[in-house]
Point group: none
Chain length 142, copies 4
């Protein structure tokens, strides 16, 4: 197993924000968590509201803790709402089950962390996360 | 970027309550928060229940933290209920996504705080907040 | 039993802040709570840090919940530290046992609320609270 | 009043970590908060333990919320331990009253945020925070 270095996390954030600039998205918050759900790096663009930390953080935290990207969590929420609600309670309300939370895996498929982005639409948030993860040479699982 | 002074916050509360008196509304609680979601001023009229602090406070806190007024939050809750539910969990249950939470912006459009009102109907609560904000020379975003 | 009206609470805050201005104190936060420990009115002067809400609030909340002013709590803390520490845990950490939390009683001696002030020295905070309470025609118990 | 932009926050982190490298310090975590105590940027170096987020965060959060740098908080804790303990409870346990939490002020002396660093000795943590803040053209108050 490898891990996400601070250098890789900074690269993920740099490319995610450059992608957002190209797409002319609203100001974003981007967080990179390790395999334990703990922050490695975070950046909130000027104009993004302060609670974006909790939203981006919840997207990434839920992904790591459940081993499921935000898009997969959303599908599960639509199929079985009470499971995701209960999981959220069990995780102290720290799960935000929508796109924009993306698992990061290494070459062997092991989860080594997650990226969470919030600020624009969930689909755009996710696209920026994927772009950042791939630019860092890692695999993204939305 | 400017900020909401105590003088402006007191003016917001004064005009919000005068508006409520004209409309013969039920007793209200009015809170004014800064751009970080922290209270600048609060007033609860005689006869308003004690939990109005938490309801008015949650309307304003959610507005600041998400950068969305209560009416916009309500629309999002109706379109995607589980997102607002999850956001609320991520914000420690301090979000009340209905009208009556109104963002305050300065001339450049920067969010400098929010006003939350509770006690009458959500629509009436919101009307009093907007009246107060505008009387203080600031911009209201419901 | 009477109660602290919003008008009385506003008078308490007005006189407390006028007293602070005369004494040239640092910016203050002032909260007035009812007999249930719930906020009636709050004002934070420009330049007072945001956490003054929690400090002033804790001074007043502990006073109401224990029926003891902040100065009396401090004496108890010095005599029996573990009791105040345990009481604080039982009250969810919301007790700040220093001067500046002042009980408000009516003519019959019944507790009808409390005032909490934070921003300058504890002794100065308390003096402003007492001045405000007395100006509103109520009795202060530090 | 100005604010700490993301560009300034990134510069603070960059110079703080370069200072640590020069001094050959242990791996650090560095957080930059806005005037409301909300994260703008965070970086945790490879090898720094995950809880450094909470320690660095608590140093900066307590500074913003109380308007006192970590060194000033430590002096208060040594003079009146139960006050800082109670303030910590009132702030939900999020205060870490030691050096390494440094207030950031603008040219007029207004608090616009704080930097928190954890990983080496408190004194070294603080020196890196001050170096970063000054490199960004802002004023540091330990």
């Amino acid at each position: 197993m490898t891990r996400i270095t601070l250098e890789a996390a900074n690269r993920i954030i740099e490319v995610a924000l450059a992608t957002a600039a190209e797409k002319k998205l609203k100001p974003l918050a981007v967080i990179v968590l390790d395999a334990g759900g703990h922050a490695i790096a975070y950046a909130r663009q000027d104009g993004a509201s302060p609670g974006r930390f909790q939203i981006a953080g919840g997207k990434a935290y839920g992904a790591v803790m459940l081993g499921l990207g935000g898009r997969a969590q959303m599908a599960r929420a639509e199929a079985q709402a009470y499971f995701i609600a209960a999981a959220n309670g069990a995780l102290d309300g720290r799960l935000v089950p929508v796109p924009g939370g993306v698992l990061v895996t290494d070459a062997s498929g092991t989860v080594i962390g997650a990226v969470g982005i919030s600020g624009d639409t969930s689909d755009n948030d996710e696209a920026c996360a994927v772009a950042g993860i791939e630019a860092a040479g890692l695999n993204a699982q939305p």
